[in-house]
């Protein structure tokens, strides 16, 4: 069996990469993709811990919930991006300053 620390480490790496990508990338679509990456990292952690606790399936079930939530969130996020593009004709975050002042 693969020791659980490897899974947790991989999950942490995915989360960190996603988090940094979310903070740093300038393209809104890349930001959305980084959010996806973070969620997937968390999913992996849930499933890995579930393997260590074989008496219930709470981890896997919660992973399902997360996937569903993720999908919904992506739909809403892309809708926002499209609205932004319609108004400002750009997908760069530093030009999305409609809330200024």
């Amino acid at each position: 069996m693969i020791p659980i620390e490897y899974y947790v480490a991989l999950s942490a790496i995915l989360f960190a990469v996603g988090g940094v990508g979310f903070l740093v990338r300038r393209n809104v679509l890349s930001v959305l993709m980084s959010i996806e990456l973070m969620l997937n990292g968390v999913n992996l952690a849930f499933v890995a811990f579930n393997r260590a606790a074989t008496h219930n399936h709470a981890g896997q079930l919660f992973a399902f919930f997360l996937i569903a939530a993720e999908a919904a969130e992506v739909a809403v996020g892309l809708a926002i991006v499209i609205s932004l593009f319609r108004i400002k004709r750009t997908v760069r975050t530093d030009e999305a300053d409609l809330l200024r002042n």
């Binding site: 988090g19 979310f22 903070l23 300038r26 975050t93 530093d94 999305a96 409609l98 809330l99 002042n101």
Partner: protein
């Protein structure tokens, strides 16, 4: 009756709740919902509440009489009753420390009614309900009808608290309450500036007096250790006895010091001290002069006539202004301890009576005549209580309430009728526009006539019995008491007033009575006799000097209609009050020695009856009767002659003379004060303060006498005190405008704007940046939860102490680690009790004992060599071997002081360990703090008492 006495026991008489609660309820309902409820409901509510209070007051009186009767016992051949009080306690309000030993004085919200209070309650609620009824008609067309009755009911509530109070703080609540209601009611028509200013003047003059009452409360709390009537009475002797220096209040040098160096010219030869009783009496007198409009604080009462006439009748005739007299009667045992203060009270009263009467001689406004008459009659009341005739003075309160209220209500009735013709306020009240009203307003005329006869002292009406009794007692009463005899033997004789003072008081009272008769008859003749002069308002008339630039608002083209009698709501109270004014004298006929009221009030004024002594051989009341009768006859005949026979032709000359006379009186007052200070006060011989102060008074007096511009006391206050305050206010206004608004406000605005400009840069609208900031925040919170931290606080209990850790999130437990003991304790706990180590405690106790022994050796006298003293406990020490018989041992008191600033040399470091759910691996991360243990109490001084 037994129904009530069984329902309400004597010490828990809950009917007081109804008496007090009904007017309060009326005030609340009328004030909050009055406008919506409409005039009829407001009227019913207001009058009914006061009538219910009156009925309950009658029940209280009967119950009290029942209990007083039950205590009757024989003493020296006649039946004597105890001083019965019916009480009701609500709750404990607060407590304070006082008394010469510093004990705690509890102050409860407690009401008690004795014979004196019961009479006052009847006056307040009875005359109050008549005046409420009157006001329903008088104020019927006013748009703030509900507000008026709200305030009027509130006044009744406050006044009832004042007279039913069992201690000085609750009385002060009522005192301030009536002052507030007086302000609200005088300034009732606040749209006119003059009315609002009059209200302010009344309130401020009252406040000056309240300062005196507060000082008196402090003195009483300190010296007698009690603030309720029973307590003060039992401890009152402590104000003068035993005569030690601690009981003298040092006036000059202030506080008992010495003036040295450059200020040594201020040092007097003999320091000026007065006894505590004198100080308390003078402070109380200041309070009473404010509330009861005596010199020097009477100036608000004439201005208070700007309020509606029912207000003048209720507040400034019958009830509020008599609160001062009530207070003197209530605390008579304090006043009796100082003959000097009694003399001052009598002098103030007599002089005020005289002075106000001179001013009333020249007034044209009918309400102002009655206002000055009130001040004058209050002077009579103070004269009465000042010579020790407390029940005579109080009886004058009783009769004065009847006839003065009737006079004011009658004047209001006249003004009501005049107002229909002349809408100008000043002209409607001017007596020069009245006359001949007796055929238009018969009931008003008759009741006014009866009350006028009562006030001037027509024989067998009420005023005759009360006023002449006061004048008689002013002549014959001399005060002394067994305590004064004892003090005289011990060489500490109290001040004795010289014998000629009483003749002076009598003469001044007779003169004031003559002038009372004159101006009241003048008022009566001008208003009701002769021909009605009001037809010609706006046209030149015989007596009036009317300004031709301001014609009246009357349309002279339509035929004038005559004034008419007032509605029944106004005439019925007039009739009731006039009847009372006529027959109330029966209740206390001093002349014929039938004095039920004296007998009723006798238990209240026990110490007064023990103290008052008549001079021997004393003239009987009959021998002094001609003076009183003569006063009334001379005064009324002079008014009759001048106004009816000569039709007031000579008025102008004598008005000029009377005005100059009053001004001269003010001048003489100032010179007299200067002379009294010169003689009575022991200044340094040839010292500057004496010249400056007495010379100052004399100079003001001389200026007033010599100047040709009339400067009465009122204008003098305007020029001096009021303009000082105005100047101060102007200075503050400039400071506020230029410094506070200009500099400080603008500076802070600039700083805030700059900060805003800086912070605005963070709001650039880029959502990404906002998300980044959120992440940083979340990381910080997470760090707080993940990293363990803790702190500790120490509570010391004697020589033990407890260390408690502070709360923090996410922690399961804590542990302590002493540097020196139990290093491996693995139990996690939040508190740790630690004790001083054994030799520490013993070291400290030994040290304390050593300190005690040193002090005892220094201060106590050892009877035999080798005597040893030990500490029995923290409070007393006993000589070794005599623990059993403390009678032989002098008492020693230790004064201990907690030495909380000192810390012991050794500080104990405390190491805390913390762990939490997130970091089992961080178990050994530790915080540390240092515990400081305060030193326990040390002995600061030691007092050795005397062998009893």
């Amino acid at each position: 009756m037994s129904f009530f006495t069984t329902l309400f026991p004597q010490d828990d008489f809950a009917l007081f709740g109804v008496i007090l609660g009904m007017p309060l309820l009326g005030a609340l309902v009328n004030g909050i919902w009055g406008k919506r409820l409409g005039k009829a409901a407001v009227r019913v509510m207001a009058v009914t509440t006061v009538v219910v209070s009156f009925v309950c007051s009658v029940i209280v009186l009967l119950a009290l009489a029942h209990w007083v009767d039950a205590t009757g016992h024989q003493e020296g051949g006649k039946t004597v009753h105890d001083h019965v009080r019916v009480t009701w306690t609500l709750w404990q309000w607060m407590h304070t420390n006082g008394g010469r030993s510093g004990g705690s004085i509890p102050i409860d919200v407690k009401f008690s009614v004795d014979a004196l209070s019961a009479m006052m309650m009847l006056i307040i609620t009875g005359i109050g309900s008549l005046i409420h009824l009157y006001a329903t008609a008088y104020m019927a067309e006013d748009k703030s009808f509900h507000r008026f009755f709200c305030y009027l009911n509130l006044f009744i509530f406050a006044m009832l608290i004042l007279v039913m109070a069992d201690n000085l703080p609750v009385l002060f609540v009522g005192w301030e309450g009536v002052g507030l209601c007086s302000y609200l009611l005088i300034g009732f028509w606040y749209e006119k500036d003059a009315n609002a200013a009059a209200g302010k003047k009344a309130f401020i003059a009252n406040r000056v007096g309240d300062f005196g009452l507060l000082c008196a409360m402090f003195l009483l709390a300190h010296f007698t250790g009690a603030l309720d009537w029973n307590g003060i009475e039992s401890n009152a002797a402590q104000l003068v006895d035993p005569p030690v220096d601690a009981l003298r209040i040092h006036l000059w040098p202030l506080g008992g010091g010495r003036y040295e160096g450059w200020a040594s010219f201020l040092q007097p030869n003999n320091p000026l001290t007065i006894s505590a009783a004198t100080a308390t009496g003078l402070a109380l007198l200041l309070g009473c002069t404010g509330k009861s409009a005596q010199i020097p604080l009477y100036t608000w009462l004439p201005d208070a006539m700007a309020g509606p006439t029912p207000v003048s009748a209720l507040i400034h005739a019958a009830t509020m202004v008599t609160a001062g007299v009530y207070l003197v009667c209530r605390l008579h045992f304090v006043f009796l301890l100082s003959p000097f203060v009694m003399m001052v009270v009598a002098l103030v009263g007599a002089f005020t009576a005289f002075y106000a009467a001179t001013i009333a001689l020249v007034q044209y406004d009918i309400k102002k005549v009655l206002a000055y008459s009130t001040v004058s009659q209050l002077g009579f009341m103070f004269l009465g209580v000042g010579v020790g005739a407390f029940s005579a003075g109080f009886f004058h309160v009783f009769t004065h309430a009847f006839f003065k209220a009737c006079l004011f209500l009658g004047a209001g009735s006249v003004i009501h009728a005049m107002h229909k013709r002349v809408h100008d306020d000043d002209k409607a009240q001017d007596m020069r526009n009245m006359g001949g009203l007796r055929k238009y307003m018969p009931w008003t005329y008759r009741t006014f006539a009866v009350s006028t006869a009562a006030i001037i002292g027509v024989p067998f009406l009420s005023g005759f019995f009360s006023k002449d009794e006061i004048m008689y007692r002013a002549y014959i009463d001399r005060l002394s008491s067994p305590m004064f005899e004892r003090l005289k033997h011990e060489g500490n004789a109290p001040f004795t007033p010289p014998a000629w003072i009483f003749t002076l008081l009598f003469a001044v009272a007779v003169a004031a009575a003559t002038m009372t008769a004159f101006y009241m008859c003048r008022c009566f003749f001008l208003t009701f006799w002769g021909d009605f002069r009001g037809w010609t308002i706006g046209r030149p008339s015989l007596l009036a000097k009317i300004d031709e630039d301001e014609p009246g608002e009357e349309d002279l083209s339509i035929p004038a209609y005559p004034p008419h009698e007032s509605p029944w709501q106004m005439t019925v109270p007039l009739i009731v009050l006039a009847t009372g004014a006529a027959v109330a004298g029966i209740l206390n006929m001093g002349l014929f020695h039938v004095t039920p009221i004296d007998h009723w009030l006798e238990p209240v004024f026990e110490s007064a009856s023990k103290a008052a002594v008549k001079e021997n051989p004393s003239p009987s009341a009959g021998a002094l009767l001609p003076f009183g009768l003569g006063a009334f006859v001379v005064g009324s005949y002079a008014a009759y002659y001048l106004y009816v026979e000569r039709k007031g032709a000579a008025e102008q000359e004598y008005i000029k003379a009377a005005t100059r006379f009053t001004q001269a009186m003010t001048g003489i007052l100032f010179i007299a004060i200067g002379a009294v200070l010169w003689g009575v006060v022991p200044w340094a011989v040839g010292g500057y303060p004496r010249y400056i102060v007495c010379g100052g008074f004399g100079a003001i007096g001389a200026y007033l006498i010599m100047s040709y511009v009339y400067v009465g006391l009122d204008k003098l206050y305007d020029e001096t005190a009021v303009s000082l305050i105005d100047a101060l206010a102007d200075t503050s206004a400039q400071f506020d405008r230029y410094f506070i608004d200009g500099v400080i406000a603008k500076l802070t605005a600039f700083v805030v704007a700059a900060a805003g400009t800086v912070l605005r840069a963070a709001q650039n609208g880029v959502v990404h940046l906002y998300a980044a900031i959120m992440v940083v925040g979340v990381a910080a919170i997470g760090w707080f939860f993940v990293i363990p931290h803790a702190d500790a606080s120490v509570a010391a209990k004697g020589s033990d102490f407890t260390v408690t850790t502070g709360a923090s999130g996410g922690y399961l437990g804590y542990a302590f680690e002493w540097a020196q003991c139990e290093p491996d304790k693995k139990v996690w706990q939040k508190e740790w009790d630690a004790a001083m180590q054994v030799d520490d405690a013993k070291k400290r106790a030994t040290e304390q004992r050593r300190v005690v022994e040193d002090l005892v050796a220094k201060h106590a006298r050892c009877e035999a060599p080798g005597d040893k003293w030990t500490a029995v406990n923290k409070e007393t020490v006993a000589r070794d071997g005599t623990k059993d018989s403390f009678g032989d041992v002098p008492e020693i008191t230790l004064h201990l002081e907690a030495d909380s600033d000192a810390i012991v040399e050794e500080a104990r470091p405390v190491r805390l360990r913390a762990r939490n759910v997130f970091s089992p691996a961080l178990r050994n991360y530790a915080a540390s703090t240092t515990v400081y243990v305060p030193r326990p109490a040390k002995v600061t001084s030691i007092e050795v008492g005397q062998n009893q």
